[in-house]
Each structure stands twice: as C-alpha cells, then as structure tokens.
C-alpha cells in the first residue's frame, strides 16, 4: 500500500508539470478492494494501473469520469451524484465525461440493472476521501484542528468564518497521504442523493450534438451494409454482385461467412446498391415458422424432456388430495429489441492496432471478440464508447462490432457498418417465445397446497425463475422447463425471462385467488406470511420487502375501494428490486382501456428521484406497449415484421396515467433499469379480467377477442 502511494506521488508530480495543479484521485471503485490513490493526469490514469477517477482543478471544476455505457438509464448523472454527495461538491461545477474502454475497469458494462448497486459504496468512498483531504489541507493551512472545519458546496469553512474553495485547496490536498478510513455521510444528511437532478447530457441531446454511434465519423471512412440470410436456417450459396458494384460510389462488394457486404462512399449509395445484389441461399438447418412453434408448444408441454428446476414436498399427493385444481396456460411471442438507433459500429483494423468505436453494452467483450477473430492482442485494440440510442439488451451482443472489424480487415480501410431497421428486426437475438402451464392445488379453505409450473421455450434456456415467489410459500411445488433448440437466435431482452414470465405468473395467481374466493392482494399476502413463518425450502427473495410494496401499492391505489374502475394487481421481484403495480381499466363501450397504473418500487435508496421515476415510467410504458401490441412472427424461417409499419410499438395516445412511489427504507440501492417492466403485463391483464371476465392468455393483447369488438 505504501509503495503504491509513493509511486502515485511521483505520478502526481508529473501531473503538476503537465496541467499546472489540482487534485486528481484515482479510485478503483469498481473493485471490491477499493484503494484510493493519487494518480497522474487524467489521460495517463489508465496506463498506470488505476481505474477511474475524479479530479478537482484549480478553478474548482470537479471532473468525474463515467465508465459505464450510457443507453438512457442515466448512469452518467447518477454515478457522479453519488460522488458529489460525499464530496460536498457544488453540482454546478461538476463535469461528467464518458470514459472509453479501459481494461482496468471491473464492470464496464450496462446490463442486469447492476451498475449503481455494484458501485454504491465505492463511489461514496471516492467522494468522502477527497473531501477528507480537502478539509485536512485547509486545517493545515489555517493551523486549526480538522474537527473545527466543515465542507459544503465546494468550500471548506472554519468556524471562525474563514473559507477556501476546493480549487484553492486542490493542490495542497493532493500532497497529503490518502486516508483509508473515511466516514460516509448519514443518509439523513443527503442533499443530492434522493433529489431530482437533470441529465447532464440534456443540452447536447436537445441541440443535436454528435453523441451516438451513428454520428461517429472519421476522415476517409467508408460506409458499409451487409446482406445477411433473411431466413434463419439458410446459408450463403452464391452472389452475383456485378450490378451492385457498378453503382456510383460503390467501392467493393465482398463476402465473408454468410454475409455479403457492400462498401461505398455514402450510406444512401450503399443502401441502393445492396438492393441490386442477386444472392442465392441454401438450407443449413431447420426452417421454422410460427405455426410450427405453436404446435411444438402444445406437444412439448406434455411430451418434452423437462429439466427440473425446483422441487418441494410431494406434488402428486397435493394434487390428488386437492379440493380444487386450477390450470392456466399463457404464451408470449418473440420480440425484437428495436432500439431507435439501429445497430452500427466503426472499425479500423490497421497493421499494428485496431480502433473500434460505437454503441455497445459490453465493450470489453467486444474487444475480446475482435481480438479472437483477428488474432490481435487485446492491448492493441482501443474502443471508444459512444452514447447508445437505446439497448434493451440488443447491444449486449456485439455481432455488429465483430462484423465491422472483420470487414475492415478485409477492406484494409476504416469502416462504418450500418444496419437498417429491417436488418435489425430480421437479424435476430430476439426475446424468445415461451408458453407456460401453471397448475395450483387448493385445499377446502382455499390455501394453495400445490403449485406446478412448466415453461416450454424456443431457445429460452431456463424459462422459469424457480426461486422467485411463490416458491417458498407452497409446500408442494414442481418447476421445470423444456427447451426447443431453434436456428432463430435469441438473447437477453430488458428484464430477461421475467419480462413475460411475470405476466403469466401474476395472471395465474389472480386466477387462483379468484378460484379460492380470495382478494388477490390478501391471497398474495397470505402466501408471503407462509413463506415467512414456515418456508417451504429456501426463500431467495426478501419477504418483508415484497410485503412492503404490496401493502403500499394497495394503499396508494385505494385497492378495492374505487368501484368505478376495474383494478388488477401484480407484484414482481427482479434484479434485486421489488415492484408492485395496480392497473385501472375502464370500459369505453365494449373496449377495455387502461387508464392508470400505480407503481410502488422498492429499489432501496433512490439516487436520482427524477431519473428513477423515468426508469419506472419508461419500464411501464415499455411493458405495456409490448404486452399490448408487439410480436415477431416467422414464416419459413424469416421474420414477418420488418419495420415499424408492421411491428407495432406503443405511441403517445396509448399511454395511461402513471403514478410512481418509492419505498424509503434506507437499504443500499438494488437497481432500477429493469424491475418496473415485468409486473405491468400482469397488472393490466388482471384489470382487464376484472372488467370483462376474460383472461388474457397470450400476448400481444391487442390481437385477442376482448380488443376486437368495434364500438
């Protein structure tokens, strides 16, 4: 430790020569063994073994690097807020910069709603350490005890009234040894954390500054598009590219793997030329259609080889002895992620290095994939992170980045690869299609004594979440899954698996409550009480937090008290957070209309209230929109929806009023990018059942009979 500090001191001296002063702290805040150390100039930080950092310049400007890919989860604002809180910085003097890929970062990715939970303590420690050093520097200068000094809004003050700005203190502070036992603030003293702070990139966004991958440009770069097989299960046989090559602006047409790439001088020229390709494909694997999948769902439900995911008690006996058995099946289609910004990436493969730039949720993995493909050491590859025009899980895959790199290596030129919306929608890594069968055994008093769930998924892996509620609350339980392997590629889609499982499960629990003659909220609370008092096997969720959101949602929505609307309840635990929702449906003629959704989230400590509301509201709109309108179907291996004209997304006139509440329990943050989405489909389906008496057995709801009556 000491030697690290000594080394760092030398580095710092270098920095003073370079920048003329200031405090620069490097914090390994993505590593559990956080060790704050003074590092040199920001630009050198990555080279000398430190991850990310904050710096305070002599003019008082605090610069904080944001390492994670920003795709709308607002991490560029919430991370610095946590640092600034402990630092007692003046927020108006905080500058945030997007960091590029640095191989010292421990978790430089966006996925799993995990960034804030992962970094919470480390970010706070970073801010608190810098603050302690600034106070120490001031106390030393004034020859007063540190205990008589306080820090606030970018100044250290002494009780005598003396005051020095962070900028004035930065250089002196940087010469002190770094304390390792700083005290973090009591949450009652939080000023920034829990307040609403606007997105630090707002100004650039509203003025059209180049922020996104598609905006990235390099002198001399060529534009490229790739024609891929339109059907899953087909491969490239032959290409006639003569007509395409003859088009103006086209530099070349090259084939690799199953790809035919058109490379040219502008996007439009490439787009036009690509249409002139004459390509033959041949069969490589199964050619599947949605009709085939629908048949498979039914046959595999009964005859498929199931993998047991969780088993408790004696399920057969419970069902044999049941006073009542309830069964329900639910099905969800494939979905496209369809972020607004189509897939794209820039790659320049040079003789001795590779330059990559673009939107990816997993930059480190992109670099690894490119290194393996080109057989180039990772340290020869740089990756500049651009802002992502949405991700929703699609950009966890780096197929587009790898394609760009391969094409650049073939062309020996800087390449900007662009997918059209059609390429994206027909090109895979979809949310898998799944069908679920639920069965519940009730005793004479309406207690759920047995529970069975089978998921049949197409490339869904484990389509269940076997340790989620209601596991732990039912003595006899069997959860298993059957998988069909398909050439249609699937991947993580915002709130993977739970984005459709939650709808199915919460709809089914509503069915069971009705069959048991119980109020849906009471029924869930009874189950949770059972999980608390006499758990059936391990309970892997926090029963009290789940009870907390259920009760608060019931209270905030006046559950069961407003007879003029039909309410539906849903609650779900995902990504370590708990969200309960109540949907309200009114009949307009014979058509159910979702008027309002009340949401209660327990994500632990809220960092940015405005941003948190945004995540909850966006998650609900996303969940509602896809449950209502979206589907991707297949014919002969090809996606039948190719763009927004046939793949329907929710629009402004279709949004209900949304009310958001947060549980204030002081628990450390547990994530919010995804957890608000899963409960929505179930809450809406249950409210529509209440209004119409019809169960919504499949998505998208808009295709079901209940929405087909024309007024």
């Amino acid at each position: 430790m000491e030697s690290v500090i000594k080394n760092s001191r030398r580095d710092f001296l270098k920095m003073t020569a370079i920048t003329g002063g200031g405090l620069v702290l490097g914090f390994n805040w993505f590593n559990v063994e956080a060790a704050p150390v003074i590092v040199s100039d920001a630009a050198l930080a990555g080279n000398i073994g430190f991850n990310s950092y904050l710096s305070i310049a002599t003019d008082g400007v605090v610069t904080i690097m944001s390492p994670n890919p920003e795709l709308g989860q607002n991490i560029m604002t919430s991370f610095p807020m946590v640092v600034a809180e402990e630092l007692e910085a003046d927020w108006t003097k905080v500058k945030v910069l997007q960091a590029n890929l640095d191989n010292k970062f421990d978790r430089q990715l966006t996925g799993g709603s995990g960034a804030v939970p992962h970094s919470w303590k480390l970010l706070r420690t970073a801010g608190a350490t810098a603050k302690a050093m600034l106070i120490q520097a001031a106390a030393k200068q004034w020859s007063v005890p540190e205990s008589e000094c306080t820090a606030s809004l970018g100044y250290v003050s002494h009780r005598s009234g003396k005051k020095l700005s962070y900028g004035e203190l930065a250089e002196a502070a940087s010469k002190l040894s770094v304390p390792t036992d700083v005290k973090l603030k009591d949450r009652k003293d939080f000023k920034l954390i829990g307040s609403s702070v606007r997105n630090v990139e707002n100004k650039k966004i509203v003025t059209g500054k180049p922020l996104f991958g598609l905006d990235f440009q390099r002198e001399g770069m060529l534009f490229a598009m790739i024609q891929r097989p339109e059907s899953f299960g087909m491969k490239l046989k032959s290409v006639d590219s003569a007509a395409a090559k003859a088009m103006p602006g086209i530099v070349d047409v090259v084939s690799f793997k199953n790809n035919v790439a058109v490379v040219g001088k502008s996007t439009w020229q490439v787009m036009k030329a690509r249409k002139l390709l004459k390509i033959e494909y041949e069969k490589e694997g199964d050619i599947e259609s949605t009709d085939d999948h629908n048949k498979l769902f039914l046959s595999l439900m009964d005859s498929g080889t199931a993998t047991v995911r969780r088993k408790e008690g004696d399920v057969d006996a419970a069902f044999k002895n049941a006073a009542k058995v309830v069964k329900g099946e639910y099905q969800c289609p494939f979905l496209s992620h369809s972020p607004m910004e189509p897939m794209n990436f820039f790659a320049h493969v040079k003789p001795d290095s590779v330059e990559l730039a673009g939107p990816t949720q997993t930059p480190a993995r992109a670099r690894t994939q490119v290194a393996q493909l080109l057989k180039v050491p990772e340290d020869k590859i740089s990756l500049e992170l651009t802002r992502l025009g949405g991700g929703f899980g699609r950009r966890l895959n780096n197929d587009f980045a790898v394609e760009a790199a391969e094409l650049s290596s073939i062309m020996k030129a800087p390449i900007k690869l662009i997918w059209t919306k059609e390429d994206d929608m027909t090109g895979g890594t979809y949310r898998p299609a799944v069908r679920y069968r639920f069965e519940a055994a009730l005793d004479a008093s309406g207690n759920m004594t047995g529970y069975k769930l089978r998921g049949v998924g197409i490339n869904a892996g484990n389509s269940t979440r076997e340790n989620n509620f209601p596991s732990g609350s039912v003595d006899n339980l069997l959860i298993d899954s059957v998988e069909h392997k398909s050439p249609i590629t699937t991947g993580a889609w915002r709130a993977p698996i739970t984005n459709f499982l939650a709808y199915a499960e919460q709809s089914f629990l509503d069915e069971v409550a009705v069959a048991a003659g119980k109020d849906p909220v009471t029924f869930r609370l009874e189950l949770l009480e059972k999980a608390k008092k006499s758990p059936a096997g391990p309970v892997r969720y926090d029963v009290d937090r789940m009870i907390g959101v259920i009760k608060l949602a019931a209270e905030k929505s006046n559950w069961g008290k407003n007879k003029n609307v039909s309410q539906g309840f849903s609650v779900y635990f995902s990504h370590a957070s708990y969200v309960a929702q109540v949907a309200e449906v009114e009949m307009q003629g014979s058509m159910p209309v979702v008027k309002k959704i009340v949401a209660v989230a327990d994500c632990g400590q809220v960092v940015n209230l405005g941003g948190a509301r945004q995540q909850v509201m966006g998650g609900i709109v996303d969940g509602l929109g896809h449950a209502m309108y979206s589907k991707l179907s297949f014919k002969d291996g090809a996606a039948q929806q190719r763009n927004y004209d046939s793949y329907r997304l929710i629009r402004m006139k279709e949004i209900p009023e949304i009310e958001t509440h947060f549980v204030d329990n002081g628990i450390d943050p547990t994530g919010l990018g995804e957890p608000a989405l899963p409960p929505t489909g179930g809450a809406v389906a249950n409210a529509i059942f209440k209004a119409t008496g019809k169960r919504l057995r499949s998505q998208p709801f808009a295709e079901l009979d209940v929405f087909k009556t024309v007024i």
Partner: protein
Amino acid sequence: MATYKLQVNGKTLQADVEPDTPLLWVLRDHLGLVGTKYGCGIAQCGACTVHVNGGATRSCVYPVSAVGNSQVITIEGLSEKGDHPLQLAWDEVDVAQCGYCQAGQIMTAAALLKKTPKPSDEDIANTMHGNICRCGAYHRIREAVKLASTKA
C-alpha cells in the same frame, strides 16, 4: 450525380449527390449535420424530422431533388444558442432517456407550436403520436411541449 445548393439553417450549403438521395442522408453524410437521426427509413418513427418551409417533414423519405429553394431547418438550426422554448422545456422536464429520438420529437413539436402556439392536450397527442420514443418517455414529452407552449 448532381449539385444541389440547399438552404439549410439559414446558410447555402452545397452537396454533390444523386437526385433520389433522401435529405436525411445529405444532411448526415454530406453536410455533417448528424443531429437529424436515422430511425426506420420509412417515415414511421419521426426520428428524422426536420422543417421544410416550416412544416415538419420526414427527411428519410424526402428526396433532395424535391428541396429546391425551400428553407430547411434541422435541430442544429432550431435556435442559435439551443434556447428555443422547447429545448429549454426538454431540459427542465428532463425528458430524454437514451435521447436518440428527441431531436425528431422537438422538431415535430416546434412545427406544431409555430402553427398552434397554444395547443390543447389533444393537439399535442395527435401531433406527437407520429413520433416513436422506444424508451417510453411520452409523459415527459407531452409535459415539455405543454410547458414550452406556456413560455413561448
């Protein structure tokens, strides 16, 4: 190829492109104005919205040959200092999530406010219905348009 002299954001800019090139790609690839976004390419999402003679226009399907002497305004030219009432409202309401669609949203709203300075909720919903926000920020978009209309 043909040479087009375009009136963009109050300046005359020249591009040598084919006549069927959509204005979107002329702006992005040839004039360096990348604030106008490519979303769907078929006039369904509104990310590419610009003003042509004051009217909200989907630049992804608007060929450069049709522009003529029309005045084209892009997000970069909506205001000199980024202080159009809508831009300020977008910040105040903190609308953006990923932000990709927002230039198109703002340009659509700006055309509405020019024609209808005090739009009703229905006017706003009817106009903005054509613009997709995949992050689902519709509530705040609506609120920001409303706010801007009270300040303009």
